[in-house]
Symmetry: C2
Subunit: 335 residues, 2 copies
């Protein structure tokens, strides 16, 4: 093997082709200034040596990378694949590459964003706290959040309107004729969980309906937590609600399973509705009615806005409304 493991640089190509490095650079970036023969000879040498530009050198010079970063704090679970995929496609359409940074370490994340590892960042990562967000905001680095609301000169948010989602759930269930409701909470600190609850209850109040605390159960956005809460509720012997709104799909599924295992029929005795439209809602039995948050669309819009900010536009708040996807877990109440 001729190459002793030292990496081929533009210098090697220049020496081998008998020209200067600037000439090589011109040949490769087809700045049309070279004699065709020279250019062809250089390209031939570059090909033979398998030369590929060092991106650290190039990006340093350029002050840009052509890469957008998606910063995730988790990747397991039904949500992330679809979201990443839509973001990937949107990046490609905009002439950018995508790199996904999977990390729970806020320091690393900040180092990558502020250290010009990417030209812009899409952030869905709870590890980043409010102080770091503040730094980012003041630094003028193009950033789009899809898990929180934060708008600044170069910061945008593309969020699902959870309050509206909660309202939609309430209206949908009311129209089916239900009167007595249960709510399964999400994570306590989660913004969306709170908004969904608020929207749901506000809309019920308009219809003159309130929900007592016994009918507000812990769910934690998790299947098991919801299952356990509902099971405990059933054991208590309290009267069944007509319908349950869970703060997300996983907890809706957990609740539905708990009813089934407790001998309560969904949807004949109790209706269940979730939120997010993860794939699993279609696969379980009964399939779960939910509110689709269109996260593919969210991804596309996030990339779009990010690119616009890179090109000078300023930040804004973009909210997306969900839509009810009726499935087997809900039906009109027989009165």
């Amino acid at each position: 093997m001729s190459n002793e493991n030292r990496k081929i640089t533009i210098k090697d190509v220049a020496r081998e082709a008998g020209v200067s490095i600037s000439t090589v650079s011109n040949a490769l970036n087809n700045v049309n200034v070279l004699h065709p023969d020279t250019k062809e000879r250089i390209l031939e040498v570059a090909r033979r040596l398998n030369y590929t530009p060092n991106l650290n050198g190039r990006n340093l010079k350029a002050g840009a990378t052509g890469v957008l970063g998606l910063f995730l704090g988790a990747i397991r679970g039904p949500y992330y694949g679809e979201l990443s995929d839509s973001i990937y496609n949107a990046c490609k359409d905009n002439g950018y590459e995508l790199e996904i940074f999977l990390s729970y370490d806020a320091r690393h994340i900040m180092a990558n964003i502020m250290g010009h590892r990417v030209d812009g960042a899409i952030i869905l990562n709870g590890a980043i706290g409010s102080d770091q967000v503040e730094v980012l905001k003041n630094q003028g680095i193009p950033t789009v959040y899809i898990d929180r609301i934060l708008v600044g000169d170069k910061s945008s948010s593309v969020v699902f309107d959870s309050y509206n989602g909660g309202q939609k759930a309430a209206r949908f269930l009311l129209e089916l004729g239900h009167k007595k409701f249960m709510f399964i909470e999400g994570e306590k600190t989660n913004y969306d969980a709170g908004e969904r609850k608020k929207g749901f209850f506000d809309e019920l109040k308009k219809a003159g309906i309130t929900v007592s605390d016994d009918y507000i159960l812990r769910g934690e956005f998790e299947r098991k937590a919801a299952y356990d809460s509902v099971t405990e509720f059933l054991d208590s012997g309290k009267p069944l609600p007509d319908a349950v709104f869970a703060a997300n799909d996983l907890s809706a599924i957990g609740a539905s399973e708990a009813f089934r295992d407790g001998g309560v029929s969904v949807p004949d005795q109790v209706n269940v509705i979730g939120c997010d439209d993860i794939e699993l809602t279609r696969l379980v039995s009964p399939s779960i009615t939910t509110i689709r948050t269109f996260f593919e669309k969210q991804g596309v819009i996030a990339v779009d806005k990010l690119v616009k900010m890179i090109n000078g536009e300023s930040g804004e708040l973009i909210t997306l409304n969900g839509r009810i996807i009726p499935r087997e877990s809900t039906k009109a109440k027989d009165s």
Copy 2:
């Protein structure tokens, strides 16, 4: 706002602190050579300005990035989340960061790997063809493949032994007392699909059993393709097999659903076994017996080997054996 959007560099910190840039660098990388007061003053300024080193500059100088790259051609589907997560954790344990490159474009992928965007690459990406793989192999860039077998000085493979998996499936079903078998193929060009088939049939042959072509169905590694093939088979009215081995879990699930919808009980009339142990096998009903390929383990071993190659070790082939995970879709044949 004081910052006019120009990015803060080490020069700004140096000027503001009234020292040279080398002194700033020493302060930040705590080379212990500075007067404590000077160091503290510099760090204070750096903090105040929110200075973060430009990674392109740093990586260029260092000739390394501290980043390992995972190159995926797809991210949707049950497999990737779990794999990525295990790889992330293994990277962290080894002091590396992880970046996931989601791309179908072989040119971009090569540019990133050879352009020193990462210190090493884990590749699970069909977009990379044999010619590119050859370049990588000759270039001495540390690379681990988890979807194909390729060993070189700095190239390793960590693969599930699919032949052995096929054998295990056969032995398991034979021990349950089954006599008549069906096989559902994977993607035609897929190496593993072929090996699983070969191992399965070789082991059956040892028991004196052959499978006629009518009982080798198209599956394409997909739920729907398998469903359609099995449905077509049922419509043909041919006698049922005792057991079906599908080249992966998705097609096993598709097959199982086709039997159910065709009025054939799994496992009472037909057994079904898949391969991979994706999460869905546990969630469908009946749950699907499968061969667990331990891809979390595969991820950990891949990272481990990659790091070792970065540190001088040479490439090797590492094969992992699967293990049968019995679930509801298989049972002993009542004779």
